[in-house]
C-alpha cells in the first residue's frame, strides 16, 4: 500500500481537440506505463466511436508510477473525463474523485466555453488547477496571449502556466512534476468505515459491471460484502484492481487510491455513477455528497425501417442500457411509423451516440423522429401531465398552461461576432442575461434559452455564424411557462403523428407554412393529388398540394428490353419499400426529418 502522501489523483480538463488524450498518452509513455509499441493513438479512448470522433464518452483511468526529481516514487491516478456538456454530471463525479486538474488549453485557439465550464466545475469541487498550454509547436500558437487570457480568467490562483507540446513531448516532464508538487495528496481516513465514490461504471459481458471507484476512506478487498448506498444494491466483491491502463487485479484498494471493483452485478443501473460503496458489515454513516439520478433532457422516437426489426431493436436497447444507465426508453406506437421506442437522452450528443451505436454495432436501420424536450402541462381538470412526445400533447381545450425547460447558455466568442450570436439567440427566443469581456477580444455572453430551441441545430448555427470561433456550454435552468401550441400535419386528410411538433405561438404560422412547403419538396408525386396541411387544433393554418404524377412510362419495350425493365421495376419497388406508407401516401424517410429543417427557422 502506498502512503497517501505519495498518491496524486488528477483529471484533465480540455476542450475538444485541445489535446487531452494526446497529453495522457504521452504521460503514459514517459512513465513507461505502456511501452511505445503498445501505443495506439489515444490509448484511453476505447470505443471505436470515441476514436473516430476524437471525444471521450466514458471516463477512463490509469495508474502511473512516476519517480519525481525529489527522488521519491509517486503513484499518479489519471482520470480522463468525458468532455461534453451532455455528460457534465459524469464529469462532475470524475472531478469529485480528484484533488487536482490539468486545464489543457490549445495555445493557438485559446480558452473555449467548455474549458471554462469544466474549470469552474473543478473549482467548485475545490480542485487545484494546473493550467497547461498545449500545442506550442504549432506555427499559429500564441502562448503569451493565451497565458494572459488564463491569468485574466483565473487570477493569480492559476499559478505558473506550463507550456508543452504533447505531440513532441516537450514540457511533459514538467507537467508530471507539477502534478506531484502542486496537487495535494488525498486525505482519507484509513481507519473509518470504507467509502468509495463510483465515478463511472461499464458493463463487460464476461465480468458483469465494472465500477470505477475512488476510495475515500478505509479499504476494499476481495470477498467483502458491499452496499451501494443510494441504490441499496448489495454484492460481494469478486475482484479489485487498478488500471495500468489495462485492468490489473490487486489485493486491496485503500483510501486515496483509484481502481475498479467487480461484483458480478449485471446492470450498470445497480451501480450508478455518483453512488457510494461501503462495507455491508461496517457501513459508513453518510454517503459521499453529490449523487443524483441522470435525467433525460432530449427525447426522440426510434423506429425500425423494417417492422420485423422491432424485437431486434428492443434487444439492442436492452443491451445498451446494461452499459448506459442514463439511457431511457419506453415502447411507442405511431400510426405512421408503427412500433418503436420513445427514448430519453442526456443531450444531443448522447442521442447521436446511441443512434449510431444501434446502427453500427447492431446493424439496425432506424428512423429517428425529430428530437424534442419534456413539457409539463397543466390541465383544466387540475391535473398535471408530463409530455415527452408532441403527438401526446393533450387537446388544446384541456390545457391551462404548458411549461418548457430553459437552459442557461454561455457563449464565448471573439468580439466581432457578438452581434451574430445575439441575433441567433434572439431568434431562438433567448433572454439576454449579461455580457463580459474576458480579454480585449473575447466576450462571454449569457442567455436563457428554451432547451427546445437548442436541441435542433443551435450549435451548428452558432458555429457557422461565427466562422467556427464560438464555443458554448449550457446548464439547465428550470421550467417556465410559455405560449406553446401543438402543430399537426395532415397528409391526404390523415394526421401523421410522427410529424407533429410543439411550436411557440409566435412562430407557429411561419413554421406550419415552412413545414408543408418542405414536405411538398420531400414527398414525391403519387398517383393521386395529395394535400398537405398544417393545423393547430382543428384550424388549418397552411396547405400545399402535391399534384398527381402525370407521366411515368417506359417508352420502349421490345426483345431484350424486358429483362432491363424487370430490373428497373425491382429498383422502383425497392425505392417504395424504403418509404413509409401512411394511408394511401408513400412518404420517404427523410420527410420525417423535414420538421428538423423548419423547426430551425
Amino acid at each position: 500500500m502506498t502512503a497517501q502522501s505519495r498518491i496524486r489523483n488528477f483529471s484533465i480538463i480540455a476542450h475538444i481537440d485541445h489535446g487531452k488524450s494526446t497529453l495522457a498518452d504521452r504521460m503514459l509513455e514517459i512513465t513507461n506505463t505502456v511501452s511505445g509499441r503498445d501505443i495506439t493513438d489515444q490509448m484511453l479512448d476505447m470505443m471505436d466511436l470515441e476514436r473516430e470522433r476524437g471525444i471521450t464518452i466514458k471516463a477512463q483511468a490509469a495508474r502511473v508510477l512516476y519517480k519525481s526529481s525529489d527522488g521519491k516514487e509517486y503513484m499518479l491516478h489519471l482520470i480522463d473525463t468525458p468532455g461534453h456538456v451532455d455528460f457534465s454530471y459524469e464529469v462532475s463525479r470524475s472531478l469529485a474523485a480528484c484533488e487536482g486538474a490539468l486545464l489543457v488549453i490549445d495555445a493557438a485557439q485559446g480558452v473555449q466555453a467548455q474549458t471554462l465550464a469544466n474549470a469552474y466545475l473543478a473549482l467548485d469541487n475545490n480542485l487545484e488547477i494546473v493550467p497547461v498550454l498545449n500545442k506550442i509547436d504549432l506555427p499559429a500558437a500564441d502562448p503569451d496571449r493565451v497565458a494572459a487570457e488564463v491569468k485574466d480568467l483565473f487570477g493569480a490562483g492559476a499559478g505558473e502556466i506550463l507550456r508543452v507540446s504533447a505531440k513532441t513531448g516537450e514540457g511533459v516532464g514538467d507537467v508530471l512534476e507539477a502534478i506531484v508538487h502542486r496537487i495535494s495528496p488525498p486525505g482519507g481516513d484509513l481507519q473509518a468505515p470504507p467509502r468509495a465514490l463510483i465515478f463511472d461504471s461499464v458493463y463487460d459481458q464476461y465480468r458483469g459491471v465494472i465500477a470505477f471507484v475512488r476510495v475515500v476512506d478505509g479499504s476494499f478487498q476481495k470477498g467483502e460484502q458491499i452496499i451501494a448506498m443510494a441504490m441499496g444494491t448489495r454484492a460481494e466483491i469478486e475482484e479489485v484492481g487498478f488500471f495500468s491502463p489495462n485492468m490489473l487485479p490487486t489485493t486491496a484498494l485503500s483510501a486515496g487510491e483509484v481502481g475498479y471493483i467487480i461484483t458480478g452485478i449485471k446492470t450498470v443501473g445497480d451501480l450508478r455513477v455518483g453512488d457510494t460503496l461501503t462495507d455491508a458489515g461496517r457501513p459508513a454513516q453518510q454517503a459521499l455528497p453529490g449523487y443524483r439520478e441522470a435525467k433525460s433532457m432530449v427525447f426522440c422516437g426510434l423506429f425500425p425501417i423494417e417492422g420485423d426489426d422491432y424485437p431486434a431493436l428492443r434487444e439492442a436497447l436492452d443491451k445498451l442500457k446494461l452499459n448506459d444507465a442514463s439511457l431511457n426508453y419506453v415502447p411507442e406506437t405511431s400510426r405512421a411509423l408503427g412500433f418503436g421506442f420513445r427514448c430519453g437522452f442526456l443531450g444531443l450528443l448522447h442521442m447521436d451516440i446511441v443512434r449510431e451505436r444501434l446502427q453500427r454495432e447492431y446493424g439496425l436501420d432506424l428512423l429517428a423522429t425529430t428530437p424534442n424536450v419534456e413539457y409539463q402541462v397543466g390541465l383544466s381538470s387540475g391535473e398535471e401531465a408530463v409530455v415527452h412526445n408532441p403527438a401526446e400533447m393533450p387537446d388544446p381545450a384541456r390545457i391551462v398552461w404548458i411549461k418548457e425547460p430553459y437552459v442557461k447558455v454561455s457563449v464565448l466568442v471573439p468580439g466581432e461576432f457578438v452581434g451574430a450570436v445575439m441575433e441567433l439567440c434572439q431568434e431562438r427566443r433567448g433572454e439576454f442575461d449579461d455580457m463580459q469581456y474576458l480579454s480585449s477580444n473575447r466576450v462571454q455572453l449569457h442567455y436563457k434559452i428554451p432547451l427546445a430551441e437548442i436541441v435542433l441545430d443551435f450549435f451548428d448555427q452558432l458555429k457557422s455564424r461565427t466562422k467556427g470561433y464560438a464555443s458554448m456550454d449550457y446548464e439547465t435552468s428550470g421550467y417556465r411557462e410559455s405560449k406553446l401550441v401543438k402543430l399537426d400535419v395532415l397528409i391526404a386528410g390523415e394526421p401523421v403523428d410522427a410529424l407533429s411538433l410543439i411550436s411557440h405561438q409566435s412562430k407557429a404560422y411561419a413554421q406550419g407554412k415552412a413545414l408543408v412547403q418542405q414536405l411538398k419538396e420531400e414527398i414525391p408525386r403519387q398517383l393521386f393529388e395529395v394535400a398537405i396541411q398544417a393545423a393547430i387544433g382543428k384550424k388549418i393554418i397552411a396547405r400545399e398540394t402535391i399534384p398527381a404524377k402525370r407521366k411515368d412510362v417506359l417508352a420502349k419495350c421490345y426483345g431484350g428490353d424486358i429483362t432491363r425493365k424487370r430490373k428497373l421495376l425491382e429498383k422502383q419497388k425497392a425505392g417504395k419499400k424504403r418509404m413509409k406508407q401512411v394511408g394511401k401516401v408513400e412518404i420517404p424517410q427523410q420527410a420525417f426529418l423535414a420538421v428538423l429543417n423548419i423547426a430551425k427557422k
Binding site: 402525370r550 407521366k551 411515368d552 417508352a555 426483345g559 428497373l568
Partner: protein, 376 residues
C-alpha cells in the same frame, strides 16, 4: 415445345451512329455485309428445328436497307420459304436509302411492311440527335414504296429531343400525318445514363423531361384525333394495321433473334447473341453474351409488364398470381385500370403512369428463382 413463329433479324450497319442510339450497330464496315449475310443464314439453318411456319419476320437494325437489294433479297429468300401465307414481313428503312428499285425488290421478295425511321422532320433537331441526312427523302420513299405495292407503312418519331419546342412537336406530328402512314411509333427520347449524349445535353434534357407529360399527352391527343388507335404505350395504328410482330412480343409469344446482338426468348429461356460483328461472322453466332432462365414467377411478371402496355390488356389467366389483389382493387377504384371479361387493362390515366401502376400491382412479386445468368 411449341415451334417458334416469330423471327427477328438484326442488321447492325449504319451510315453513322446517332448520338442517342442504344441499339447495337456499327458505322463503317459495310464491306462485311456479304459475309454477315452468310453467317446469318448459317445461324438460321442451325436453328431450323426450332421454327414452325413463320407468322412474322422483322428485319431491324441498324439500317437494314443499307445492305442494298441484292443482299436483302438473298437473305429474305430462305426465310420466306419458312413463312406462312399472309405472314407479316417488315423491313426497317432509312428514308434516304429507299429508291424505287429497292422498293420494287423488297416487294418482289414479299416484304409487305416497311417502318421508316424519321425521328423528326426538323433539320435542327435531327442535327441535335446526330442523325445522318435530311428528312427530305421521306415523302419520296413513301411514294416509291406505295408505287411498288407496299401499303403497310409506318413512321417512327421521337419527342423530347434537345431543343424541341411544343410547336416543333406539333409540326412533326402534322407532317407525319400528312403522309398518311398506317402506323406511327412515337417514343420519348430515352438516353442511357452516363452517355456522352446525356452529358452534352444535360440541362436541355432536364427541361425536356419537365415538358414530357404535356408532349406525351399531345402526341396521344393529336394522333387519336386523326383516327389512329393508341394500341400500345408508344404505338399508334389505323384500325387493323397494328404491327403483328411487335404485338407478339407484348403478348409474350416466343421469338428468335438472329444476328449479332439479337435477343431471343423461347419458353423460359432468354439469351442474347454477342454484340460483335467480326466474331459473329467468324462462326461465333452460337456465342451468347447473356442468358437467363426465367422462373415461372418472372415469366408471369413479364406477361403483366408487357401485356399491360397494350390497350386491350391481357387475360388474368396469364398473370400466374403475380398481381397483388389489394392494389388491383385500389387502382381500379381510382380509375387506373379496368377488369372486364377475364381481362385486365390500363385505362388512359393508367397508361400515362404505367410504371407506377406496375410497381404497385407487382409489389409482392419477388425477382427470385432466376436460372443461370451471365456471359457464356
Amino acid at each position: 415445345m411449341a415451334k417458334v413463329t416469330h423471327l427477328y433479324v438484326h442488321l447492325p450497319f449504319c451510315q453513322r451512329r446517332c448520338h442517342y442510339c442504344d441499339f447495337y450497330s456499327t458505322a463503317g464496315p459495310l464491306a462485311l455485309a456479304p459475309a454477315y449475310t452468310d453467317a446469318l443464314l448459317g445461324e438460321f439453318e442451325a436453328a431450323a428445328l426450332l421454327f414452325g411456319s413463320l407468322k412474322t419476320v422483322y428485319l431491324g437494325g441498324g439500317t437494314p436497307t443499307l445492305l442494298g437489294e441484292a443482299l436483302l433479297v438473298k437473305m429474305l429468300t430462305p426465310l420466306l420459304e419458312k413463312s406462312a401465307a399472309g405472314a407479316e414481313v417488315t423491313v426497317e428503312a432509312n428514308p434516304g436509302t429507299v429508291t424505287p428499285r429497292l422498293a420494287a425488290s423488297l416487294a418482289a421478295a414479299r416484304v409487305n411492311r416497311v417502318s421508316l425511321g424519321v425521328q423528326s422532320f426538323n433539320a435542327r433537331l435531327r442535327a441535335n440527335l446526330g442523325r445522318a441526312g435530311s428528312a427530305a427523302p421521306v415523302a419520296g420513299a413513301i411514294a416509291a414504296l406505295r408505287e411498288a405495292g407496299i401499303k403497310n407503312l409506318g413512321l417512327d418519331l421521337i419527342f423530347g429531343i434537345p431543343g424541341q419546342s411544343f410547336s416543333d412537336l406539333e409540326e412533326d406530328l402534322h407532317r407525319a400525318l400528312a403522309l398518311k402512314p398506317k402506323h406511327l411509333s412515337c417514343y420519348e427520347l430515352s438516353v442511357r445514363d452516363g452517355s456522352a449524349f446525356q452529358r452534352r445535353w444535360q440541362k436541355e434534357l432536364k427541361q425536356q423531361s419537365a415538358h414530357a407529360p404535356l408532349y406525351y399527352e399531345t402526341v396521344v391527343d393529336v394522333l387519336e384525333g386523326a383516327g389512329y388507335q393508341w394500341y400500345e404505350t408508344s404505338n399508334f395504328a389505323l384500325p387493323g394495321w397494328e404491327c403483328r410482330h411487335n404485338l407478339a412480343y407484348w403478348l409474350g409469344a416466343d421469338y428468335l433473334g438472329l444476328g449479332a446482338g439479337a435477343w431471343s426468348t423461347v419458353g423460359l429461356k432468354r439469351w442474347r447473341n454477342r454484340e460483335d460483328l467480326g466474331a459473329y461472322i467468324d462462326g461465333g453466332h452460337g456465342e451468347q453474351r447473356f442468358r437467363e432462365t426465367l422462373s415461372p414467377a418472372q415469366k408471369a411478371a413479364e406477361r403483366v409488364i408487357l401485356g399491360l402496355r397494350l390497350q386491350e390488356g391481357i387475360p388474368f389467366a396469364g398473370c400466374g398470381g403475380a398481381i397483388d389483389d389489394l392494389q388491383l382493387n385500389l387502382l381500379q377504384r381510382n380509375g387506373f385500370l379496368e377488369t372486364d371479361d377475364g381481362k385486365i387493362y390500363l385505362t388512359r390515366a393508367g397508361q400515362f403512369v404505367a410504371n407506377e401502376v406496375l410497381a404497385r400491382l407487382l409489389q409482392n412479386w419477388e425477382e427470385h428463382g432466376a436460372g443461370g445468368q451471365g456471359a457464356a
